[in-house]
Amino acid sequence: MREGGRPLEPHADGRQRSAWLEEQAEVRAHERRGLDWFDLRLHAPQIAARALPGQFAQLQVRPVGPAGAGLDPLLRRPLSFCTLDPGRGEISVIYRVVGRGTALLAEAAPGQRLSLLGPLGSSFPDPRRAPARPLLLVGGGLGIPPLACAAAWALAAGRPTRALLGARTAGYLAGAAEVAAAGAAVTAVTEDGSAGRRGLVTAELAEVLTAEADVWACGPAPMLSAVQALCRQHGAGCWLCVERPMACGFGVCIGCAVARADGTGYLKACTDGPVLRGDEADLAG
């Protein structure tokens, strides 16, 4: 498979884009980890070597085989990297079974191969650019896993890093263990109080946010909107990892539109994002 050899320009704020490729990744481990979410570890050395936190891969949900990918479901599933281990050539993703595609993916067994396109999209900003600024990672539900490699990246750059992680119940704190394992100080909250304090993660953020901090957030749209508003109020740096329905993931379908804050049209979640600057996106648009 010819790779995407063209180096892609980084954003002025330090978010990086990678040359992407297709790789047949071998399933190394695949475990049910919670109510209906799965932890999938893949050997994908070429993608692992160039992937950065905040980026994602498009996974073919059916293993590579004589029948091909099949025509139904038609599309790949975009999943953000949870952990990155270029030394072992491995990446991991955490996903929830929400429909037929993810249900098929859940059947992939160790040793089978899955086709991946990646690494796709724009990463969180390179943390080495502001090594002294405190970093607050804010994650909600299935938005938590991408913060695990983000925490590892920031801590390796010497950034003081704290994670505020929230979910509906303890069973949906997917990836919180990985964020903690990366070395970040984790505060967990749940809406029902089944783990950590009872409440919303954005209430925790409001208590600790200062103008000196940067926030990297990933989670459901209402959480991201609240984070964006809090960062604006406090004058804090703000980067939001957004999710949109997308067909291709590499910029040709223009399906994953996110309105620009200045009203001049749309950003693409797949290539302009998924990590967008808080001041460039109108999440309600």
Partner: protein
């Protein structure tokens, strides 16, 4: 690839190294795919529908997957013909791509203005124009032309008069008799027709009790629409004298062969690109292997052969 097979085709005045093109709206302006392979390997690249001024497109969600298919309601978001001519066409020429410019407008005058502007490109830079009168996702400039025989003929004749480039008209399946439209645009001066554009459809989210797409309805594409497309290509190819370009759910070399056997001189691969960006080249190679296995020396020999 079958080295003995001649894949070259002539279609509506356009000479193509192979009959497998990338469909408009599925390859943007080529830059993303060029990261993976040289665009010169495509039979042709039909760039994103381009309007006189930039179009904003529709709010999201714009995409919804369906059984073996995809609904989209992008709304023809594009940066306009100035950007095409200043940035994309010169770059595509550098890539050695065979370029088909898909054009859109809200009025006949807008279509004509875009077509006329294409004369500013260096000679040979643009291989053909594909007149898009079939987008189901815009209030103006889509089906008001593509689902009205008189309007279809009128805009075709006007664009015909405005450009010396080969002119394809991309037809909508959202009509009762697609043959009548093919015949009407043929009479109005089209050099060829491409079909089908997407089928109007929708999805509902039962638990939210709301349509999934912000536009409420969208255009259905992908393998799910292939039988409809194949039937329409079959009908049109025997009714008109101009070449037909087959589009609709093509994802394999065998799919491409079926459309050519039904009468298509060339085919476009669209939605398949989203899951497999190399799909057009894979389809080309599979087609060549199939032709080789069939003992066919040239791809053009099978055009319409299912009707012989």
């Amino acid at each position: 690839m079958g080295q003995a097979v001649d894949l070259g085709v002539h279609c509506a005045g356009l000479a193509c190294a192979n009959p497998v093109w990338a469909a408009s709206g599925c390859c943007n302006y080529g830059r993303e795919l060029a990261a993976l392979y040289p665009l010169a390997e495509l039979g042709a690249i039909c760039v994103k529908g381009t309007s006189l001024l930039p179009w904003r497109g529709n709010p999201g969600p714009r995409i919804a997957e369906t059984a073996a298919g995809l609904l989209n309601a992008i709304g023809l978001q594009n940066p306009g013909v100035d950007h095409l001519l200043a940035v994309d066409v010169p770059w595509l020429v550098e890539q050695g791509a065979t370029v088909v410019v898909n054009i859109v407008g809200r009025t006949v005058q807008e279509y004509v203005a875009v077509a006329a502007r294409l004369a500013e490109a260096p000679a040979g830079a643009i291989g053909a124009v594909e007149l898009n009168i079939s987008c189901p996702n815009v209030r103006e400039g889509g089906l008001q032309f593509g689902a009205d025989l008189r309007a279809a003929a009128e805009v075709t004749a006007a664009v015909r008069a405005a450009t010396a480039l080969p002119l394809l008209v991309k037809l909508s399946p959202n009509v009762t008799d697609v043959v009548a439209f093919a015949a009407a645009v043929e009479r109005a001066g089209a050099d060829g027709v491409s079909l089908i554009n997407t089928l109007l459809g929708m999805r509902l989210d039962a638990s939210r009790r709301r349509p999934v797409l912000a536009n409420l309805t969208g255009g259905l594409s992908g393998p799910a629409v292939k039988p409809v497309a194949l039937r329409m290509v079959w009908e049109v190819a025997q009714a008109v004298a101009i070449p037909v370009v087959g589009i609709g759910g093509i994802a394999s070399g065998l799919d491409a062969a079926e459309f050519m056997l039904a009468g298509a001189s060339a085919v476009q691969v669209g939605t398949a690109i989203f899951a497999d960006p190399r799909a057009p080249l894979r389809v080309r190679d599979e087609l060549a292997a199939w032709l080789c296995a069939q003992g066919v020396g040239a791809a053009r020999e099978i055009v319409g052969a299912a009707r012989d």
